[in-house]
Point group: C2
Chain length 142, copies 2
């Protein structure tokens, strides 16, 4: 099964796309750092300084300004697809779809935690893109 | 089973508590309106203008600046407890705990959607409390 989350962000699609792939920008709303620019076929190391955690993604597809697909190990390998669709003037519908969850009782905490993570990231992204705020991230307590 | 979400917000506990119970404030980060001030035993109508939706809560417990507990009909009656715990100087740990979910496969979408909702609300609350931003809410697309 999958987790799907969609949010409107009042910035052009190309700018929102760049916030993910440009390692100078990701630390403003999500992971604290990304080892290099996201391009097709690249393995990228993402670090979350605040939680002393890191993980690797493999970038599978990039359509500039439109789509990012990557895979990461989330217990099993999951595919994450982020799409950027122009909406009203200057506004983008950002959709995150993560596939690969096992639909069983034992997986509920993993699926729920993952949903919370995407929603948090997208809201932090909205705050960064629309207001330049970079301090919403890193505030969860587990 | 329950959904539990915790976030640090850099404002004093009493101010964060007031954002929920004061009907002049809730529209800045969550529902667009609340029928009256939340006090123990009150039935409150919450409206979400953007989604043309409304619902009722019954306030079960209020400890000013510290705790809010209410019940709402989420398929079955659920109890939601929001606690405000002073953390570092001027910072509050806000914890939302919703109890009453059935732990079965068919309930997964409900539990997941609920988690996303709480995470979204808390991040919007953080943006409002720390930066006075009131435009992060109402941007989800279903």
């Amino acid at each position: 099964m999958n987790n799907n989350t969609k949010m409107k962000i009042a910035r052009p699609a190309f700018e929102v796309f760049e916030a993910f792939v440009d390692p100078e920008k990701i630390g403003n709303f999500w992971f604290s750092s990304s080892s290099e620019r996201w391009t097709e076929g690249k393995a990228i190391k993402l670090r979350y300084e605040e939680y002393n955690a890191e993980g690797d993604i493999e970038v599978k597809e990039i359509v500039p300004g439109t789509k990012i697909a990557f895979e990461w190990d989330y217990g099993t390998m999951h595919r994450v697809t982020i799409t950027f669709t122009p909406d009203e003037e200057g506004t983008t519908l950002v959709e995150v779809n993560e596939e690969g969850f096992t639909k069983d009782i034992d997986s509920i905490p993993l699926i729920v935690d993952n949903k919370g993570g995407w929603m948090y990231m997208l809201t932090c992204l909205k705050g960064y893109m629309e207001h330049g705020i970079t301090t919403l991230r890193g505030a969860l307590v587990h």
